[in-house]
Chain length 223, copies 2
DNA sequence: GCATATTTGTCCGTATGTATA
DNA sequence: CTATACATACGGACAAATATG
């Protein structure tokens, strides 16, 4: 019912709308599979339909919405297959990035360190959605070390979908909480240029996360 | 100057517009770095600006246009760095897909075979843009064997940019012509389940293409 | 199966702000 | 600095497709 006007945070109103929507979706406040009406949203946010549709395209670009012609846009229903696919790519990309690092890269870990600090701060407040965001930033910063714009783009998409998958968890705590310590531990290894160890650690860590989310998916599907 | 109306090929007019534009860009008929005015294009194609902007989003999604806020959309200027980045990803993705194949996959090469046939047909007519399209289809079909929707998406983007990079070639023939035979040879190896050989062949083949395009880039940059 | 209501896709005209000549 | 051109955003409108009764 809250119908506040959207602030033009950094220029584009469409970007502001998409950010708001992105939060709603990744926090699970919009049920997967539900349709999002552009007209209704335009009314609620007091922007024009065209602007909302522009925001839809931005989100569809990251896989946070799916667009079906003449039917509308929907919050994607994340299947077990989707989760497996996301992790299949992450397991190829992230360890490979770590293994390709050189000692010179140990001085480029600023953004990873910041993400760890953010995660610790919001974790003590048990604000799990924000822990998810900090985790997302950590892994994107990790991949950014490879200096590949196209890999960055792929990773952004993957982590957006990752957060979407998190929304299926009934109790997010057991999934989110381990992230904080693990990211910190990985950062420590990277800082000491122990890349092979870091890559192995990351691999088992990703496998563990995947297992937890798949288990939650199956619990949901059987219900 | 031709101002024919756009046909609604598969429902969406925006999709039709984006296809037309895609051809113009990948054939190099729109100079890299040039601005594409939505108003002008809307006038020429006799569709509304909103529709054109929608098409812009679709193309920006594949990297065929870049959008700068409050400045407009531009045909990207492909740098040597871009070419290196595209090939860095392709060299990781494609050989890995091939190495992960199993003998059962030898019966799923229909789309690759079709792409080879198409390439041979248009190659005899020296229609190089179409050879480029057939080559794009071949490599996308190759990656599709991995059954990963997210990998498919990444590959679609990469191959779209790949075609964009082709546009820098002054004489496309020496670049395009070898594709036909090489794709056919690779298909032959895959059909006989000689995957390791195929992966190695693909690696050297990709390295060769990259070198040719980079050389063309440097010729262009020095001019 | 049909008629209706809703929603989407598309279009237009305009106002406002921004960048560039 | 002014002026022009252009991009963003707006709201209203209509036809076509879809969903609903």
């Amino acid at each position: 019912m809250a119908s506040e006007n959207v602030v033009m945070s950094q220029g584009s109103t469409a970007a502001a709308v998409s950010e708001q929507l992105s939060d709603l979706i990744t926090e699970g406040r919009l049920a997967p599979g539900s349709r999002v009406s552009d007209a209704a949203l335009a009314l609620r946010l007091k922007v024009s339909r065209n602007t909302v549709r522009e925001a839809f395209r931005l989100l569809a670009h990251d896989g946070l919405l799916v667009h079906e012609f003449n039917r509308g846009v929907f919050v994607p229903f994340v299947t077990s297959e989707d989760v497996r696919d996301v992790y299949r790519l992450r397991r190829v990309i992230e360890p490979q990035v770590v293994r390709a690092l050189t000692p010179a890269d140990t001085h480029r870990l600023g953004r990873l360190r910041q993400a760890v600090l953010d995660a610790e701060a919001v974790s003590s407040e048990e604000d799990w959605p924000r822990v998810g965001t900090a985790n997302m930033h950590f892994h994107r910063a990790l991949v950014a070390l490879a200096n590949s714009p196209r890999l960055d783009l792929t990773m952004r998409r993957l982590m957006a979908e990752q957060r979407l998958a998190f929304a299926v968890m009934d109790d997010p705590r057991p999934l989110y909480e381990p992230f904080v310590g693990r990211n910190k531990a990985l950062l420590g290894l990277l800082g000491e240029a122990r890349f092979e160890e870091g890559a192995n650690f990351l691999e088992s860590y990703l496998a563990d996360s995947e297992g937890r989310i798949l288990a939650a998916c199956e619990r949901r599907d059987s219900a």
